[in-house]
Amino acid sequence: MEPALIFDLVLLLILIGLAWLLLASTDLFRAVVLFIAFGLLLALAWVRLGAPDVALAEAAIGAGITGALLLVGLGRLGSTERCRFSRAPLTFLQRLSAPVLVGVMIPSISLILLLEVHQLAGTTPGRQGLINAFLDVSGSGHGVTAVLLNFRAWDTLLEKGVLLLALITIWSLDQARPLFHQEDISPQLMGLARLLLPLVIVVAGFVLWQGDQAPGGAFQSGALLSAGILLAILVGYSLPQRWQGLSLRLLLAIGFGVFLLIAAATLLYSGYPLQYPEHLAGSLILLIELVATASIAALLAAAVVGGHPPDDLSTPAAKAPSTSGRR
């Protein structure tokens, strides 16, 4: 057996074990930490499968956003199952569905898959060839970027919509509350932030820029930036007042908005949505990526903060200190 295969095997065993442990764990904090580890190893799996773009995204999200989201959420929720009301017994259907699904359906489907996928392996080549054929007119030198922002840009457009929608949902649900203890920011932490933040910006720019030729792109870059913003929030930076109203909303919406405008413009111009003129394709993709990065960064950070800004619309008497931070 080759070491590579053993590596895969071990990796998968650990992943499955982790999933099992974290889902079965009674202590939720432990579950969250295990989930962070799970994300870490998942990135390794993506690397092993030759999908560095996905690995980059997983790294940026898993190491930064998801961990923060879950930890913050856990902090606000508490880790034990609590309910004032008497614990409603599982309904008959619930009780039935779990064994039926897990005991009968899933194994049978898995069995079919395992049997047949084995036959499949190495048969169909995928769409690599077709994509390569069109790559030079796509405006991007990297397959994944070309697919995301040109061939299947419609998906990406809607996905940006989902992001904005998620934020609007979060804002509609709650008001932002302070994420952390105000007092007591140690100088070491400040130092770390001062060192990391410029680096985060540089690396984010690098990831964005190289998305044209190599793995990387708006989402990875945006996720990285948002982790930076989070760090900034965590060490006490806060958003200047003038950045909280329309400007903030503009920043959040600009990625989706510009993408939509481009779709509309191309639809008017050529009759096909998102059919970029060939000589403009590169620039348009770059433009979309730039604004998308900015929006994604802001959106993800705002999602972790979890609520609308205190000055937003409904509560004129904003008194809570600003929390959604960005320098």
């Binding site: 359906m105 079919i112 919509g161 509609s172």
Partner: protein, 495 residues
């Protein structure tokens, strides 16, 4: 000028416009109502233009970015897409008007008003994108867009029950779409294409494809709340604000069903689906009976209406066992017709329930007693919409059931007839219960004034729902454009 109108790809605009308006309402919350209403007003015209363009055969399906299909995403202008766009536009417009009254500009929950519009426009845009999508993965994205927007709208009510319903709905949506997505992954692995048309041409009857199909169907069945996977629906549809309940019952449940129709008739016709068809049909039957019986037991109007939705969804799933051989077209058209009528009728009912709640302070059915005066109109609304739900003519539900029974006769599946007929009687029973309260004359202290935008939209919807059967010819003809089935709808069979 006509050139310009006809040559525009209106069905694409119907996705872009509401999404753009959603962004605009997010950016300018103060103007949200007007932006929203203008968009809502504009979309029915877009739908008409899209239909005109397709009927006069200038609009063709197109791929995004004009890339050839295995590479690009196909947007379709077939009949199913067009009628769903149109029905959504119509119902959406009326619901938007209603929402103006339901979410008045100045009230304590000011933010609710402001957040309703972007969320609703997102939902609308997502639905439209879903209807025109011809790509399996794109369908996943649109499904998620729709279900996230629905979650948000349910949660907008703000109460703990609403939030719990929203979160449960979120999990259900996630579960459903992940199962669907897994199926998509398997199909892509085999055929390296996600285009519905292409897949339909090359797919073969293999175990792997069956696994993919089962996963996808299971996911969508969960999202469209077929018994026994309906458990999430009553709470979700009941706890939401009234216009949202209307949207959810009228449109969102149908969105998953439309995808299911597309899969069944366009992707998987080559597969041997007899057993699954019968299973879905059987569950549909149980849903009809169970939903109706549960509706009969409810004390709250909205819950009753929600359970009625479950029963009606059951009818929709009869399409799958009935649509075979010669009866294919009849059953398919029956499903589409029922979907359209039910959208109007159910929306009218939920809006009416919202108005009752608004005026009477509760939507307990017993509060309907003495429903004279300002809410007398709502009793009319309920009666007319009831005709639709029971399936009385001239509503479309009547003709849909006609087509189903005809298909059942033609395919020799008699037991479905018994279910359809007894479902009709059960529907009449639970409707009659409400009517009994609504017509009961007792003295009531005066009701608060209902804003006119909450009074007339339900009536308009119920009238449309009632006469839908009479004007169904054009919608059905449009639905048959590029449909996977062809006429005749009514099969005659000899001895």
């Amino acid at each position: 000028m006509t050139e310009l109108i006809v040559q525009q790809n209106w069905f694409v605009w119907m996705t872009l416009l509401p999404l753009g308006a959603a962004v605009a309402t997010f950016l300018a919350p103060g103007q949200a109502r007007w932006i929203g209403l203008t968009t809502a007003l504009f979309l029915p015209f877009c739908a008409l233009a899209a239909i005109a363009a397709t009927v006069f055969s200038t609009a063709q399906p197109l791929t995004v970015g004009n890339w050839p299909t295995p590479l690009g995403i196909e947007l379709r202008t077939d009949g199913l897409a067009l009628v769903m766009l149109a029905v959504t536009a119509l119902v959406g417009f009326i619901i938007s008007c209603y929402a103006l009254g339901y979410f008045p500009p100045r009230q304590h929950h000011l933010s609710r008003t402001h957040y309703f519009w972007p969320l609703w426009l997102f939902l609308w845009g997502g639905c439209n994108a879903l209807f025109v999508s011809g790509d399996l993965f794109n369908l996943y994205v649109t499904l998620e867009l729709v279900s996230l927007a629905s979650v948000a709208l349910i949660a907008l009510e703000g109460g703990k029950a609403a939030l719990a319903a929203a979160l449960r709905y979120l999990f259900i949506g996630l579960l459903g779409s992940l199962a669907y997505l897994l199926g998509v992954g398997i199909l892509y692995a085999t055929y390296a294409t996600l285009d519905i048309t292409l897949l339909g041409e090359i797919i073969s009857d293999s175990r792997l494809n069956h696994a993919a199909m089962s996963l996808m169907i299971a996911g969508l069945v969960l999202k469209s709340a077929l018994f026994p996977l309906h458990f999430w629906l009553p709470q979700a549809h009941t706890m939401a604000p009234a216009p949202v309940s209307a949207v959810l019952s009228a449109l969102v449940v149908k969105a998953a069903y439309v995808v299911l129709l597309r899969l069944w008739f366009e992707v998987f016709p080559a597969l041997d689906t007899l057993a699954i068809g019968h299973l879905l049909g059987l569950l549909g039957c149980v849903a009809i009976i169970w939903g109706s019986l549960m509706a009969l037991r409810q004390e709250r109007l909205k819950l009753l209406i929600a359970y009625s939705t479950i029963a009606q969804i059951g009818y929709l799933f009869l399409v799958f066992p009935l649509a075979r051989g010669e009866a294919m077209a009849g059953a398919w058209v029956g499903g589409v017709l029922l979907m359209m009528t039910h959208a109007c009728g159910k929306a009218a009912m939920f809006l009416m329930a919202g108005t009752i709640h608004h005026t009477a302070g509760s939507d307990r059915i017993s509060r309907l007693a003495g429903a004279g005066g300002p809410i007398g109109v709502q009793v009319v609304v309920f009666t007319l919409a009831a005709a639709t739900i029971i399936g009385l003519p001239p509503s479309g539900g009547f003709f849909a059931k006609w087509l189903f029974i005809n298909a059942a006769l033609a395919t020799g599946q008699w037991w479905y007839i018994a279910i359809i007929l007894s479902g009709t009687l059960l529907a009449a029973a639970y409707i009659a219960r409400v009517l009994g309260w609504a017509f009961l004359d007792v003295k009531r202290s005066s009701y608060p004034v209902i804003p006119w935008v909450m009074k007339w939209p339900p009536l308009a919807l119920s009238v449309i729902a009632l006469v839908f059967g009479l004007i169904a010819y054009a919608p059905v003809q449009i639905a048959l454009i590029g449909a996977p089935v062809s006429v005749p709808l009514l099969v005659e069979f000899g001895p």
